[in-house]
Amino acid sequence: MRVDVVLRVVTKLLLPFILLFGLYVQFHGEIGPGGGFQAGVIVGACIILYAIMFGLDRAMRVLSVTAVEKMISLGVLLYLGTGFAGMVMGGEFLNYSVLQHDPVHGQHLGITLIELGVLVTVAGTMVAIFYAFAGRGR
């Protein structure tokens, strides 16, 4: 598949920065605008851009349909696992304060973990929806 050279080069240059920006939104989300959902959309958009530029087959070699489906449930399980950890440590479900020796660190860790779960699920879902539509009629 031949694509215009400018588009190809610019896309390749942009991809790592898009991913990095996704991670920035992810980790900054705790203290500023952003969070797992927005970051997940950005990471998903990165894969989708790659697929638009280089074709669905190459994108699916990077991230297969199975992998995308697993991502959706793994993210949810990470979120739930964080909740259960709170329960095991003697608090309520999703009580992050008990995760570490003091509540502030606990909340910090808990939010980071559940937002990571959201990122994985949202990115997986975005790509899955794209694959489902782009793969129609194949």
């Binding site: 449930s73 608090g91 009580n95 509540p103």
Partner: protein, 499 residues
């Protein structure tokens, strides 16, 4: 933060919701139909254990409260179990536990192999959503769970092997979304007026703003939204198609739980938040509900008589039965409410049994058309005997659960001095005699012909759950101490209010 060293018993309200959610994620992750079924069954069996323990806890020590994430109510999300939603949790989780052993063979025969693991995933999500709607003490959280359960229900319906199932799911999607939107508009108005989303807190704060226009609008929006979800007569159009198109297992589960949870939420708003005096004395809710319930009882029953697909006939009968439940609400007395709440349970038992019989027949002859069922009672006598028992229960024959509900509803009618209503309740039972009688006549009094001639009894894994529900129709019909007793306590609790 209160969360130092909670015992397992104190964690039960969270486990009730989180276990099915985790099960759903695992089903999707592993994506093997047998593993999916095993996970779903394990979780479904754990659910009634948890809900019964919760109900016992509530009956002995009063309402149970759980501060989700350790954030104190009313600021955080509170899970609050009292007699009425404890009763409902038991109902939903029992139905889930009865349906799952039945599901294995039925799902294997009706759903494409690569979609079966997803079916169990979506079923568990639906279970979590319905249980969540019942258990939560937070108005917006209830909306979130309503969406979880509705979205998974659309998928469950669309998994039906009939192409019409897709249209039915789409129709339900549109109407269900309108219902949920109306509900959330109502919640938004209440939030604007009271500044809280916690049910208990809202019940206290609403007193000061009760007669204002936004609160009246909120009541109207929530009423219409929930009536769409519970399929009150003119808003029922999504229900017959959805129940007909869905896979048998999904129909059994949805028909016996989904509309019940919507009824619960409406009761919660009417009695606990707005207050019975405001809703039923100051506003004309009683005549509106009364007329619509009666219309549903008669029109839907009459339409049921002319159906050729028995699943569809039973779906119309469900609309009529919802009429009985809302009729008890409209009577707005302790007896009427008891009848209404006990009918939630009783209707789940009998409609569950009837749809399970239809699932057994679909398993053997591939569809539920009446003219394919000629003489099927002679080939599948055990299955069709369950149909007769549950059918008699639907009619309201003494000794079955249907009689108990109608008895309370009629008593409440006499108590209000509406003797004509008692006759109308009897009258609509005669319509049930006709549509159930049609099936019994066809199944038992004809020579077996066509596909029915080769039919045999379904596997035991399907027959036993069917008979558990049919047996429950008799057991709780002869001894209504437990169901009606808890329902009466729930009615008392509703009248006492949250304030």
């Amino acid at each position: 933060m209160t969360g130092e060293g909670l015992t397992l018993a104190q964690q039960l309200p969270a486990l009730q919701i989180v276990l099915p959610l985790t099960g759903a994620a695992l089903c999707a992750l592993i994506d093997r139909r047998n593993v999916g079924w095993a996970i779903a069954t394990l979780v479904s069996f754990a659910m009634p254990v948890i809900s019964v323990m919760l109900l016992i806890q509530v009956l002995t020590t009063g309402p149970v409260s759980y501060a989700f994430g350790g954030w104190e109510p009313p600021y955080g999300i509170e899970y609050r179990v009292d007699v009425i939603n404890g009763f409902l949790l038991v109902l939903i989780s029992l139905m889930g536990a009865v349906v799952m052993p039945y599901a294995r063979r039925s799902v294997a025969s009706e759903i494409a192999e690569n979609k079966q693991a997803w079916f169990y995933c979506v079923y568990l999500l639906c279970l979590a959503g319905l249980l969540g709607m019942a258990i939560t003490g937070d108005a917006f959280n209830a909306f979130v769970f309503m969406e979880v359960s509705s979205l998974s229900m659309y998928v469950l319906i669309a998994l039906g092997n009939d192409r019409r199932a897709l249209v039915a799911a789409y129709q339900y999607l549109i109407l269900g979304t309108i219902g949920a939107t109306f509900y959330v508009i109502g919640v938004g108005l209440l939030f604007a007026m009271t500044g809280t989303l916690n049910f208990v807190d809202m019940a206290e704060r609403i007193v000061a703003v009760e007669q204002t226009r936004p609160v009246l609008a909120a009541l109207a929006f929530i009423t219409v939204g929930m009536c769409l979800k519970l399929a009150l007569f003119p808003l029922h159009v999504w229900l017959p198609n959805a129940y007909t198109g869905a896979p048998s297992v999904a129909t059994v589960f949805i028909a016996s739980t989904a509309t019940k949870v919507a009824v619960y939420l409406l009761l919660r708003y009417y009695y606990s938040i707005f207050g019975a005096a405001f809703v039923f004395d100051d506003l004309p809710v009683t005549p509106i509900l009364l007329i619509l319930s009666l219309a549903g009882m008669f029109v839907a029953s009459a339409v049921a008589i002319f159906q050729s697909n028995i699943k569809r006939m039973l779906a119309y009968s469900s609309v009529a039965q919802i009429g009985y439940i809302t009729l008890g609400m409209a009577e707005a007395t302790r007896l009427g409410l008891t009848g209404s709440i006990v009918h939630l349970f009783n209707h789940a038992m009998m409609k569950g049994a009837l749809f399970m019989v239809m699932g057994c027949i679909a398993y053997r002859i591939g569809n539920c058309r009446l003219n394919n069922m000629a003489g099927i009672g002679r080939r599948m006598p055990v299955t069709m005997a369950a149909f007769v028992i549950a059918g008699l229960s639907l009619i309201g024959v003494p000794g079955t659960v249907g009689f108990i509900s109608k008895w309370y509803l009629a008593l409440a009618a006499f108590e209000n001095g509406w003797w004509w209503l008692a006759f109308l309740i009897m009258g609509s039972s005669f319509l049930a005699v006709i549509y159930i009688g049609r099936v019994i006549e066809m199944a038992w009094f004809r020579e077996p012909t066509g596909p029915a001639a080769e039919a045999t009894e379904p596997p035991l894994s399907m027959l036993i759950p069917t008979w558990i529900l049919a047996g429950a129709c008799i057991v709780f019909g002869l001894d209504a101490e437990m169901t009606a007793g808890v329902a009466a306590q729930a009615a008392d609790a509703l009248f006492a209010g949250l304030r």
